[in-house]
Symmetry: C2
DNA sequence: CGAATTGTTGACTTAGTCAATCAAGATAGT
DNA sequence: ACTATCTTGATTGACTAAGTCAACAATTCG
């Protein structure tokens, strides 16, 4: 039901990189500050994202992190699945792990869990980081207008 | 994202009571056996469900637990919310807890979390225990047919 | 009544995960 | 060479979930 803090950090970090796509590497410290993420923890997370091929790093004084995918095709679902595993609300559905469930697939709730999983996929896999960046841009614009009135 | 083991037990226990509605109290031991729930833990859970007014208990040699609501109106969502709290995927949305989020509501992901929450509600609040009992009945019938062929 | 059966209660234990931190090292730019 | 940056693995502390236990109270039925 809930997304771990780590995963939320990973999403926010990816989002921050998406915002600066095409502008060269973004420093860990900058991401940490803008997105309010503990810097040490962010190091761990970015490293994990690198293992997964979502980001690349450049060392040295002009170093930092860069998104490897286009924000237009990268979805929230991909990041969540990478950090958290399958989107299933319960273990039984997660993988074909041979049902360690003592009810042997004779569980009345299975169809419902499937429906939930599909509903989650619908939302997460249809949200790209480009969408998010665009949405924020619109919101900021409205904000400015609010102040100027 | 995931439903706790405890909550799954609570759902299965409620489901078991729904199956035997109108037949008098069901013993803890029977629920535990049929639904493969550790009996000591089930005691804790049933007690909690009783505090919430979902079940009633009767002591003595013919004692056991009875559902207080009609399975036709009792939804999975009610049980989940009672055991787990709000259906939000993240804390920020859970309650109006004054946003301890350091981004002060300026988070690009908020609309998505809302969508997820709504999607979850859609599924969980539209599934009644009568539905589940009925579905199982249908499935068992098919099973019998399978064997007789 | 009284013995057996059942639920009641709250404290307790255990195990595992999450979040975060630290420090020493490697690399690239200037 | 120097400095800013990323790299890596080990480690910690806190917290929560899951499960357990034992003494107790109420009810039923012979």
């Amino acid at each position: 039901m809930s997304i771990s803090q780590k995963c939320q950090y990973a999403l926010r970090a990816t989002f921050e990189l998406a915002k600066h796509v095409g502008e060269g590497p973004v420093r860990i410290a900058d991401i940490a500050k803008t997105q309010a993420i503990p810097i040490r923890f962010l190091e761990v997370i970015l490293n994990q994202l690198k293992q997964g091929g979502f980001v690349e790093s450049r060392r040295g004084s002009t170093g930092g992190y860069v998104l490897t995918h286009s924000p237009a095709t990268l979805t929230v679902g991909e990041i969540i699945r990478f950090i958290e595993g399958p989107l299933s609300p319960v273990q039984c559905i997660a993988g074909s792990t041979g049902d360690q469930c003592p009810l042997h697939g004779d569980c009345a709730f299975l169809p419902m869990w499937e429906k939930v999983k599909d509903a989650l996929s619908d939302v997460y896999d249809s949200t790209t980081f480009e969408d998010l960046v665009e949405q924020e841009r619109v919101r900021r614009k409205e904000h400015v207008l609010d102040y100027s009135i």
